[in-house]
């Protein structure tokens, strides 16, 4: 299969993937009842009263901290993947230096991880 064909197939998957919900929801609309009423449209909180206050409350900062950590380590993976793919070729080419190099790279990230660990960023409290 060629490069283009491979991705055409992916496009096919996307189309089919979109078609299923479209079809199912259309069919569902024909079949299901529609009787909206006040309490039904109420957001669920205790089941009796309207929800108190805005639900979009301020999140705890830890969510953001984990998001940041994620970004950093995900980007690390960006470098690890090409390296891993080309590992054999590079190993033959420049020897174990290639390993040492990645070792240095990972070492610095580990320092970052240890830092976060030590600063209790990783605690979910």
């Amino acid at each position: 299969m060629t490069y283009t064909e491979n991705y055409l197939s992916v496009v096919g998957f996307i189309l089919v993937g979109l078609a299923l919900p479209a079809a199912a929801l259309t069919v569902g609309r024909l079949l299901r009842p529609y009787q909206p009423s006040g309490p039904k449209a109420m957001a669920y909180e205790s089941g009796v009263l309207d929800p108190t206050g805005d639900s979009r409350v301020q999140f705890h900062v830890r969510y953001y901290l984990f998001a940041l950590l994620f970004v950093i380590f995900d980007v690390e993976a960006v470098f690890l993947y090409p390296w891993a793919v080309a590992y054999d070729a590079l190993r033959a080419d420049v020897g174990l230096f290639i390993l040492a190099e990645m070792g240095i790279f990972v070492f610095f990230l580990v320092i970052g991880l240890v830092y976060a660990w030590k600063k209790r960023v990783l605690e979910w409290t």
Binding site: L8, F13, G17, G28, E45, A67, F73, D74, Y81
Partner: protein
Amino acid sequence: MNGWTLFGPVTLLSVVLLFVTYAILFERKVMGWMQGRHGPNRLGPWGLLQTVADILKLLIKEDTIPRNADRAMFKAAPVIAFVPSFVVLAAIPYTKGLLFSDLAVGLLYYIAISSITTIGILSGGWASNNKYALLGSMRSVAQMISYEIPLVMSVIGVVMAAGTLNLTGIVESQKEVWFILPQIIGFVVFFIASLAELNRTPFDLPEAESELVAGYHVEYSGFRFAFFMLAEYVYVYAMAALTTILFLGGWNPLFGIDFIPPIFWFALKFLLMVFLLIWIRATLPRIRMDQLMQLGWKVLLPLSLINIFLSAVLKEVFSGWY
């Protein structure tokens, strides 16, 4: 674009839907047995039509949307969650010939597309304008991104060993020995992380009924709810397939028993993985949020990093072995 381009996905979709239908039943049955009860057994022989009935029920259920919800986003969220789960399947090879697209970066493709679902979950929770839903979706996102890191890192050992990101290539390179052996650490990390990615017990905190009512889909009903569930089970399918490919040698036969066709080998291993997932669900209790995060960052991530270097060392020691 030829016929296969659309026909293939449609066929696969049918297969997947079938799988999901019976995977749910299977799960309930297995859990029933394990817990010393029968599980669904009323509809159809052996309860075979139970899930079908459930689906039909969902189809005719009223679709309520909360007053304060962000309607457009509320409607779009299940679709955003579901579509990627199906699109990732494009890259999965079942045998050497049976595959939909042979992407050179198949593994990366899988990881990249699958993370889009997170957005669907987050927008669903946000659009519901409900505290439980929002909290559930935030937890879900936190969990998914936390475990995506070990997931991604644990595969690097495999990539190093195979020297390619192409999934067919990875299976081919397991002719001699499956990666589950040399990459045992990677496998363990990968498996645990995939459990978490699937939001399955013991990592099903985002939808923990006892804590959060039902998590991010608390306000969803009818078929919109169904699509969230569908997405989860399609991911079970996809993840089991991926694990099979990455660590269990895909369609490669065991002990050279090659009279069994490769597709059956694949199916066997795949079903084993599915069973394993169900088994764990029935066995383990749910863990706490803080334990969850610490496990991901403090245990799995370092392990997967170590695994990378162990793989390299292994390569040095056994160079020429595979």
